[in-house]
Structures are given as structure tokens and as C-alpha cells.
């Protein structure tokens, strides 16, 4: 291994490869249930990773990110409903068309919202993103004639090949892996490094001649697009969509996953998704006090483990390596 490779890329690649292998093996478990859980982990993990483009890489916290998840879900669901045959089935091509509708519509929404949000930073960014998120939720919730409002949209049954949980799972895995690779490329490109500069020192970036607002907006749109992709997958997975997908509580899920897994790398949020989803499944079997559980965990992580699980592992590895280096010198 090249020296400094760990310093440059952290654990991202080994963790990603490990997770990919494990994900590939999930359907070997008996029954359909774990495949379904893993599908949910992948979709929400993608959502969380898109959030992390704004949080970990650009340094801004958005409490309205789920609005793009939900917009993607709804765009996809509404096209799905129109492409469905009278018999309630959907053709394979039409199915992929409906999936493809999610990201662009979400990206457009992100363009509009982002145009205003990137003028602010810090707490004002957080507040405005929350306000817009709630506004979008309110629109979807109230516009019954268009979105069927509170009732949501049902009947999102994929074509029979993908009704099989394993097939849908591998489709999701393929799409999410491709998305992850795309995000990896973006974050490791010059654009990605500009993002990091914006996170660390916005003023300096401006002095360097970087158009801060434009770059923030581009990143916001990319993040929104990927969230929309996750949303598009969610509809057929859950067989329905509802306005709650746009609310701040849904946004909170992305935030929690990112925090748990670690915001410092591209795969951190996916790891967070694994931990969060599994934890939720187990805890809810025994108690209804899930909010208390996850709230306490987040509290402890914020106080003692701000880098998340991956952050902790990296720190330990670095400490060991530095310890070794120190020993070697001595």
C-alpha cells in the first residue's frame, strides 16, 4: 500500500468493498425478510449519502433535504400511475421511465430552493432549508387534485420480474452502487475539493476567486438529484408514497444515519443506514420507545463520537499507525 493512501482516502475503499460483498450475499439468508430490510437500507443510505454531500463535504446542515427525496418519489409515482395499464400492471420500459423521472424533477426543485438557500449559511441556511422543506410538504399535502394529498398514491407495483424481492434488491444494489461511484467521482474531483474549501473557510474561497454561491448551488442540485433517485426507488419498494416523505422527520433520518456512520467519508452514511435500520428493526420488536433510544444514541454520538463509527475506526487506526511510527523512530 502506498504511504499516505490511508491519510488521503481513509477507510472508504475497504469499507465500501466489504459492504458491497456483504450486500451481495444478503439474499442467501433464508426468507424474503432480510432482502427487504437490505433494500430499505440501500435506498435510505443513498438518501443519507446525498445529504452528506451538503453536510460532510460542504459543511451546511439542511433540515429540508427530505423534500427532494419526497419530490423524487412523487414524480416517479405520478408518472408510474399514468403509465400503468388499465389492468394495473406496468411494462418494464415504462417502469424504468418512471424511475428516471425522479432525479430530474427533484433536481429542478433543488435548483429553485437552492437558489435562495445558498445565499445563507449556518443557522440561516438550516432554517430556510427547513422552511422550504415544510412548504413543499404543505403543497404536496394540500394539492389533493394533483397529488391525492394525505391519502398518498398507492398501486406502485413493479413489473412481475421485479415483484420478486431478490430481483428488486439487486436492481437497487446496482443503481445505488452506480450512484455511489458517481458521488465518489464528484467528491474526488476538483469540484469536490472546492466543496471542502467552502466547508472549511468560505471567505478564503471567495478571495481565491471561487464563485461561492454558484458552486454551492451546483452541489445543492446534485444532492437533490441523488435524493430524488432514492425517492424514486422508494415508491415501488414500499408500493406507495405519502406526503410524510417530505417532512422534517424524514430529513432527520438522513441526518441521523450520516452522524452515526460518520460524515467524513462517502460511505459513512451508508454504514449509518445499516446500523440505524437494523437497530430500529430490533428495538421496535421490544419497545415502542424508539425515539427515546435513537435520541439518546444521537446525543451520545454528538457528545463523544462526532465522527461517527467510521470516524472512530479511522482515529484508532491512525493512532495505532502513529504509535508504530513513533516506536520505529524511537
Amino acid at each position: 500500500m502506498q504511504p499516505g493512501w490511508l491519510a488521503r482516502h481513509g477507510l472508504t475503499v475497504p469499507v465500501a468493498i466489504l459492504m458491497l460483498v456483504l450486500f451481495l450475499l444478503v439474499p442467501l439468508l433464508p426468507g424474503e425478510y432480510w432482502t427487504q430490510v437490505a433494500t430499505e437500507i440501500l435506498i435510505l443510505g443513498l438518501f443519507a449519502m446525498s445529504f452528506n454531500l451538503l453536510y460532510g463535504y460542504m459543511g451546511q446542515i439542511s433540515f429540508g433535504h427530505a423534500a427532494f427525496f419526497g419530490v423524487g418519489a412523487y414524480a416517479s409515482a405520478m408518472l408510474f400511475t399514468r403509465l400503468k395499464t388499465a389492468g394495473g400492471e406496468i411494462g418494464m420500459l415504462d417502469f424504468f421511465l418512471s424511475l428516471a423521472a425522479g432525479p430530474p424533477v427533484a433536481a429542478v426543485a433543488a435548483l429553485i430552493v437552492g437558489f435562495f438557500c445558498v445565499r445563507l449559511t449556518g443557522i440561516y441556511f438550516a432554517m430556510l432549508s427547513l422552511a422550504f422543506g415544510e412548504l413543499l410538504f404543505y403543497i404536496v399535502f394540500s394539492w389533493y387534485s394533483f397529488t391525492k394529498g394525505d391519502d398518498g398514491i398507492q398501486g406502485l407495483l413493479p413489473p412481475s420480474f421485479f415483484q420478486d424481492a431478490v430481483n428488486f434488491y439487486y436492481l437497487t444494489l446496482a443503481i445505488v452502487t452506480l450512484a455511489l461511484l458517481a458521488m465518489w467521482r464528484i467528491t474526488e474531483s476538483p469540484f469536490g475539493y472546492i466543496m471542502r474549501t467552502l466547508r472549511d473557510n468560505q471567505r478564503r474561497a471567495a478571495f481565491l476567486g471561487i464563485n461561492v454561491r454558484l458552486h454551492m448551488l451546483i452541489n445543492f442540485v446534485i444532492a437533490g438529484g441523488f435524493a430524488g433517485l432514492a425517492g424514486a426507488l422508494w415508491g415501488p419498494f414500499s408500493r406507495s408514497v405519502n406526503p410524510g416523505l417530505l417532512g422534517w422527520q424524514e430529513s432527520g433520518i438522513a441526518v441521523f444515519m450520516t452522524l452515526i456512520g460518520g460524515a467524513g467519508s462517502i460511505v459513512g452514511p451508508m454504514l449509518g443506514s445499516v446500523i440505524y435500520t437494523m437497530l430500529q428493526a430490533v428495538v421496535k420488536m421490544y419497545t415502542v420507545y424508539w425515539p427515546l433510544t435513537i435520541g439518546t444514541i444521537i446525543l451520545l454520538i454528538v457528545l463523544f463520537l462526532p465522527g461517527g463509527v467510521l470516524g472512530l475506526v479511522e482515529k484508532r487506526l491512525k493512532a495505532r499507525r502513529d504509535g508504530d511510527a513513533g516506536n520505529r523512530e524511537a
Binding site: 394529498g149 391519502d151 407495483l157 405519502n242 421496535k284
Partner: protein, 434 residues
């Protein structure tokens, strides 16, 4: 791990037990596990009911009695041998948090992981619609007994869904009947509507306004006002209503907003000026708000126990719940209806002679069952049970520590009098399922 294995392990771990105790307890445990097998005919597979109701979110306080009451009812059923006298019934509970995607997920979990044979779900109609997609796909029996949007049995129809609660159209229809009588008697001319701004509120409002306009066209709606769910301050709405000086007001308000509105409105004396007939006041509201609910107000209920005190099933049910939960433990509307669902399951299995879903679905189609509301029949085209809606006056009864509907003036509007639309139109509404 079976219960006996677990007990075995626990015994072994507990080294404090003397040898004699150990042997004795083991024998006793062994005897206990044998008992069901001895009592029943053969070792019959237990029947699992997945109960998907909220303990979190807006539905939580309505479902509390139901969630604790179902195990009591199931235990009694199991004492009689369970379904068909041989299948012990097990209940697996999951919280749907009053959220559709959580509901869909937990439904999948119940069906795929816990392998339930039947689902009792849910509280919220939005959640019910999402859950229906799952139960239909996996061909699992679905008994709805609180979520009551007409879409559940019409637009989103599934042959596996059976509805034990009067649906939204039936409820609106009942209110129209009651209000129409009052409007004619009192020569009312105008009213103001206040509603929760979401699907149910809009739907209920439309049902009422169109229904009333048909029978009493001389009664006109002067204004309609809408508020966001979770409104905490109705002050401005109430002053606006009073300023309009209507003959009466109509409310499409449910849940905790209904309680907030009633409390604030009665404190402002609204109901002294403007009658408010037909708001949803279920038994749990009568019990919980016994100190604050204005008396004389006309309310709407879905399954009040005091309307069917003569039914033996209701009598036994009340007795059992009060024994389990104390003197105040009268079951509320929701608990009663889910209890009827359990009864429906038992009778469906009996009629089918089997616990298979397909057999029960066929057996219950258009069938008559005995419920705590008497003998009731399922509507052929929608699997909606023909049950009444109840409109009555809130009144202090000497028999109960909480108000009930005054028996002399309570109206029971039968389901089939007001279930709209016709079966022909229902068929047109049903969406095609793949």
C-alpha cells in the same frame, strides 16, 4: 426457542435452586407444556394475528384501550380452544406510528418475518391504504376496524380487506340525517363549516354539504373555514364563527384537534350561541373529557357500547374488560370494533371449516356474523359490514361516571340506509389491481 426450552435454560442458569426444587419445577414445566396438547385434539398450528396500531403519533391515545384489550379477548378465545377449537391464537403487535411508510414496513415485517396469517390494521386511513398494498400482494387477510375512509373498501378495494367500522360516507350520511331533522324542525337557514385541512376533513365536509343540500336545499353554507392539523388556538376561528351568526355550525374535525376545539369553544360560550351537531364524539372522548365536554351537544359515534347493552356479546365483553381494567374500563368504539373483528375471524374460520385465508375470505363474503352490535351482514361488493352510525346528545347518566348519549334522543342510522354509492358505482370506483 420454545417457551419450555427457555424455561429449561432459565432453570439451569439459576444455580440457587436446590436439586429437589429443580426436579419439581422441571416436571411442572413439562406438564404445563403438555397441557395445550392434551386439551386440544392434536398439536395444531397456532394462528397468528398481526396487530398494527399506533402507540405513537396522533392515533396513540385512541388505540390504547384496544391494544391492551385485544390480548384479553384473545386469551378468552384461546380458553375456548382457539380458532376451530384447536388453533391457539397468538398476537404480534407493531406500532405503525400513524405513518404510512412505517405502516407498510411493519406490515411487511409482520407478514414476512413473523409470518402472521391475518392483520388487524390500522387507525389512520392513510396508513390503511399503504398497508392494503402489502396485504393484497401477499394475500393476507386484513380486518380494518377504525380506519374508515370509503376508499379502503371502494377505490382501493382488495378482496382480502373486511371493514368493521362504518365508513366515512356512512358517517356523513348519518350526520346529514340527524341535522336534516333538526334543520327542518328549527327552520335553520344558514351554517358555517370548520374543517381540518386534509383529505379526511375535505372529504367529510363534501359528504355533508352535498348530502344536506339534497334533502334540505333551503339550508345554505354561509362560510367555510379550514385550519391546519395541530392547530392549538381556535380563538380567531371561534370569533369569526360567532360574527357570522349562523343557525348552526358543521365541523369536520377529528382527533386531538376536536378536543382542543371543543374545549376552547365551550369556554368561549360558542355552543350557547351556535349549535354544533354531529362532531365526532366517541366513547373515549366521552370518558376522557368527562369534566370538560359541554353537555347537550350533539355528537357522532361509531360503536358506543351503551347503544347495544341488550346484546349478550356486548354484555360479556363489557364485563370482561371491566374485570381486567377496573370499574372504569368500559371499552371505547375502537376496542369494540376490533373485538368484532376477532369475532368475525372466529366465525369466518368456523364457517369455512378452515383457517386458510382463501377459505375465510370466501366464507365471509356477504356473510352474516354475530357482533357486539347484533347480527350484521357484509356488503357483497365492498366487504363493508352493515353497521350503524350513532348520533346523540351528550348527557350525564346516573349509571356511568362519564356522560353518554341520551338514550331517548339517540338516533341509530343503519349502514345500508346511507352507504353510498350503489354497488354498481362501487365497481366502477375499484381500481384495477395487477
Amino acid at each position: 426457542m420454545s417457551t419450555s426450552d427457555r424455561k429449561w435454560e432459565a432453570l439451569i442458569d439459576n444455580l440457587k435452586l436446590s436439586r429437589r426444587d429443580f426436579v419439581f419445577t422441571t416436571l411442572a414445566t413439562g406438564a404445563l407444556t403438555l397441557t395445550p396438547r392434551l386439551a386440544g385434539a392434536q398439536a395444531a398450528k397456532p394462528y397468528k394475528i398481526g396487530v398494527l396500531l399506533p402507540s405513537t403519533g396522533t392515533g396513540a391515545n385512541y388505540m390504547a384501550h384496544c391494544i391492551k384489550g385485544l390480548p384479553v379477548a384473545i386469551a378468552e378465545l384461546n380458553k375456548r380452544g382457539g380458532l376451530l377449537g384447536k388453533h391457539q391464537v397468538q398476537m404480534v403487535y407493531r406500532d405503525d406510528e400513524t405513518k404510512p411508510d412505517v405502516g407498510a414496513r411493519e406490515a411487511k415485517s409482520l407478514i414476512l418475518n413473523d409470518k402472521v396469517d391475518c392483520m388487524f390494521a390500522t387507525y389512520s386511513s392513510a396508513v390503511a391504504l399503504a398497508v392494503q398494498e402489502i396485504i393484497h400482494e401477499h394475500k393476507v387477510l386484513h380486518f380494518a376496524a377504525t380506519s374508515n375512509s370509503s376508499k379502503i373498501t371502494q377505490d382501493n378495494y382488495s378482496p382480502y380487506t373486511y371493514q368493521f367500522c362504518p365508513d366515512s360516507n356512512m358517517q356523513s350520511g348519518a350526520v346529514v340525517v340527524a341535522v336534516s331533522r333538526m334543520a327542518t324542525k328549527n327552520k335553520w337557514k344558514s351554517y358555517v363549516s370548520l374543517g381540518q385541512d386534509y383529505e379526511w376533513g375535505r372529504d367529510t365536509h363534501k359528504g355533508f354539504t352535498t348530502g344536506l343540500a339534497k334533502i334540505n336545499p333551503e339550508v345554505k353554507e354561509a362560510r367555510q373555514m379550514w385550519f391546519k392539523l395541530g392547530e392549538t388556538d381556535f380563538n380567531s376561528y371561534i370569533t369569526a364563527i360567532m360574527a357570522a351568526k349562523p343557525d348552526f355550525m358543521f365541523g369536520a374535525i377529528a382527533g386531538k384537534d376536536a378536543e382542543t376545539f371543543m374545549q376552547q369553544a365551550s369556554q368561549m360560550g360558542l355552543f350557547k350561541r351556535v349549535p354544533f351537531p354531529g362532531g365526532l364524539i366517541a366513547v373515549n372522548d366521552l370518558k376522557a373529557q368527562r369534566k370538560t365536554l359541554p353537555r347537550g351537544i350533539i355528537g357522532l359515534a361509531r360503536c358506543p357500547f351503551f347503544a347495544h347493552l341488550k346484546e349478550p356479546i356486548m354484555q360479556a365483553y363489557i364485563k370482561r374488560d371491566r374485570a381486567a381494567f377496573g370499574a372504569d374500563g368500559y371499552p371505547d368504539d375502537w376496542a369494540c370494533m376490533y373485538y368484532d373483528a376477532l369475532g368475525g375471524l372466529e366465525q369466518g374460520a368456523k364457517k369455512a371449516g378452515s383457517t386458510s385465508t382463501e377459505a375465510i375470505v370466501k366464507a365471509l363474503k356477504g356473510a352474516s356474523i354475530d357482533t357486539c352490535r347484533g347480527k350484521r351482514t357484509f356488503r357483497d361488493c365492498s366487504n363493508q359490514l352493515n353497521v350503524p352510525s350513532y348520533v346523540g346528545e351528550v348527557w350525564d347518566s346516573p349509571d356511568y361516571p362519564f356522560p353518554i348519549y341520551k338514550p331517548e334522543t339517540m338516533i341509530q342510522v343503519e349502514g345500508n340506509e346511507v352507504w353510498t354509492p350503489t354497488c354498481e358505482d362501487v365497481e366502477k370506483l375499484k381500481k384495477k389491481r395487477a
